[in-house]
């Protein structure tokens, strides 16, 4: 797990702050196993028969909340990208209005992404 995170960060596919979060998660999991007595105690508190149920329950809640958080971030990013793209498009138009491209100029405004 740690080596995968290291690999991803080295390739710049994962930002450092997120990497720290995931490494922290891993350490937390190790800690839970280390303090097995604590896990048994929590199990008896919530009334589950086996400690695995406790682990799965909390794991599930955690993943659910994480997904929600990622959805929120994604929505925010989408909105920001939309506003940015609109702004870029409008600015390109304003620019062309002030300095219209020469008729002989074959260079197109480079705001189109090639597929």
């Amino acid at each position: 797990m740690v080596s995968i995170i290291f690999y991803l960060v080295r390739k710049r596919r994962l930002r450092e702050e997120y990497a720290l979060f995931w490494i922290g998660c891993g350490i937390l999991m190790l800690g839970v196993i280390w303090f097995y007595q604590g896990l048994l105690f929590v199990s008896s508190l919530i009334g589950s028969v086996t400690p695995t149920t406790t682990l799965f329950l909390f794991g599930f809640i955690f993943v659910l909340l994480l997904c929600l958080k990622i959805s929120v971030s994604l929505s925010q990013l989408k909105t920001q990208i939309k506003i940015l793209a609109q702004e870029v498009a409008l600015l390109t138009t304003y620019k062309d209005e002030h300095h219209p491209p020469e008729p002989g100029d074959s260079e197109k405004p480079c705001n189109k992404l090639t597929p």
Partner: protein, 222 residues
């Protein structure tokens, strides 16, 4: 369509919004000597018309007419829409294909959906709106200010936007216009889409209603 608009209303500045299309939209519009805004990639119908509104607001336009570019709308009808807005009878004039026009008859599932949302809109605003999805409308600056805000949807503005305008105290008037079948293929495909759209619309209306107080408080600022 562009030459028609230019010939009929030579005094009006025209803006074409190209929502990241791969065809020659940009070149065609530029050849007609009209302003073009090209999105770098596809952002959605709502985002595209919002870009147009942002442009109009920046350019200090007092009135804006929005048309779909696929030849659905009759260029002659632009004057019909602008008139009530210009004379101050309403802030937004909606071109409706259902008023005084029985020629357009959509398939029954769609009709049920239209009826349903028409009922809800009337219930909330007290005003019957026959064609809330109309892409043919004229508006003044008050509406522009609301439409360029963050509560305007990226996909398809529908009854929720009209309800929002109602909360803002915007007066809406529907004008019967002629509409032709779109020359491009329909955007709604897949059997689940209508259901998804209905659910999404209900949810949007719910959210809009929950923001009623928010919109009411901002009435004076637009």
């Amino acid at each position: 369509m562009l030459p028609k608009v230019k010939a009929r209303y030579p005094e009006m500045p025209v803006l074409v919004v190209d929502d990241g299309s791969q065809d020659q939209t940009e070149a065609i519009a530029q050849a007609q000597q009209v302003a073009v805004v090209s999105h770098p990639f596809n952002l959605g119908y709502g985002a595209a018309i919002q870009t147009g509104y942002k442009y109009a607001l920046e350019k200090q336009c007092h009135y804006v007419v929005q048309m779909d570019a696929d030849g659905q709308h009759e260029v002659e009808d632009v004057a019909l829409l602008v008139q009530p807005v210009k004379q101050g009878f309403c802030d937004l004039a909606l071109g409706s294909r259902f008023l005084n026009n029985a020629s357009y008859r959509p398939a029954w599932p769609r009709r049920v959906g239209i009826r349903f949302f028409r009922g809800i809109t009337k219930l909330i605003t007290g005003q019957p709106i026959t064609d809330p999805t109309s892409g043919f409308q004229a508006m003044n600056r008050r509406v522009l200010q609301i439409f360029t805000g963050r509560h305007f949807p990226d996909d398809y503005p529908d009854a929720d936007v009209l309800v929002m305008l109602n909360f803002y105290g915007i007066s809406i008037q529907e004008i019967p216009v002629r509409m032709y079948a779109s020359t491009t293929r329909s955007m709604h495909h897949g059997w689940w889409r209508p259901f998804f759209y209905m659910a999404k619309m209900c949810f949007s209306l719910l959210i809009t209603c929950s923001l009623k107080g928010h919109f009411r408080r901002r009435r004076s600022s637009v």
